[in-house]
């Protein structure tokens, strides 16, 4: 149980975060962008729990923080997907590059 240094977890979450970032920036489909955001949020959660476990496991603060992040992530996904569905109904597309009304 004690053999994994914190650095492994942290590098993992950093990597997951970067992949999520890539997904947000590079995917065409709007839903896929949201998937990327979910990955980033999960990376954050991993970070939080890791730090809880490695720095101060006596307090439950770390977990509570992670739970709140869950809630927020859920809410955000709900609203985001609702928006995408609404846009799909109006514009018949979910390609992020087609939703460019605010362009020059």
């Amino acid at each position: 149980m004690n053999s994994i240094p914190i650095s492994w977890y942290l590098i993992l979450s950093a990597g997951l975060f970067s992949i999520g970032l890539f997904g947000v920036l590079a995917r065409k489909n709007a839903v896929a962008i949201l998937l990327g955001i979910e990955l980033m949020l999960n990376a954050v959660n991993i970070n939080l729990v890791t730090f809880w476990r490695y720095n101060n496991p006596a307090e439950v603060t770390g977990q509570v923080f992670a739970i709140i992040v869950f809630a927020v992530a859920a809410a955000e996904v709900a609203v985001g997907l609702a928006l995408i569905i609404s846009i799909y109904r109006n514009r018949n597309t979910v390609m992020a590059e087609d939703i460019d009304l605010m362009k020059w």
Binding site: V31, A32, N42, I67, V79, L81
Partner: protein, 170 residues
């Protein structure tokens, strides 16, 4: 190499690999499934970190609700040629570069932190889950953020229902 390390490496590989698949597959439904894999693996990771409640909540909330929500969304936004075209847009190179940069930057930052190579301390005695539950409902502790998070969810719920409502009487 202890068992835990090996387990960790396996799960880490699953997470990273699946995450990569999430962001690169053409078919959206596949992406959603790959996300479920990632989520499950993260749950296992939580278990390894002795955060059992978190692991359960991860599976119930994320996989059970959010991933399903994604699948529904993919279903509702399907189009004929949608899944045939390229998955990534024109900025992929720059995005890749930026991602790598961000990873590198984070790594550099973390490396300079003194506690980077710490080991896990001992778990305290007592029931972690009970303590967590108490903290969430004790007014002195985290009752308020908990309730506010509930309100946030309610707002999001109402908002989502309203935004996605089909029949608009205009």
């Amino acid at each position: 190499m202890t068992t835990m390390q090996v387990l960790f490496l396996i799960f880490a590989a699953i997470i990273l690999g699946s995450a990569f698949m999430v962001v690169t597959t053409k078919k959206m439904i596949h992406a959603a499934f790959w996300l479920i894999v990632v989520l499950f693996a993260i749950a296992a990771l939580y278990a390894m970190l002795n955060a059992g409640f978190m692991a359960m909540v991860q599976i119930v909330v994320y996989v059970g609700a959010i991933a399903i929500l994604f699948i529904f969304a993919v279903m509702l936004t399907r189009k004929e040629l949608l899944d045939r075209g390229p998955a990534l847009n024109a900025n992929k190179s720059i995005a890749a570069l930026l991602s790598l940069l961000s990873f590198g930057g984070l790594y550099m930052l973390l490396r300079n932190w003194s506690g980077f190579s710490n080991m896990a301390p001992a778990l305290p005695e007592g029931d972690m889950v009970a303590k967590l539950g108490e903290a969430l409902v004790t007014p002195d502790a985290y009752l308020l953020p908990f309730e506010i998070a509930s309100v946030l969810l309610l707002a999001a719920l109402i908002g989502a229902v309203y935004v996605a409502n089909e029949a608009r009487s205009e």
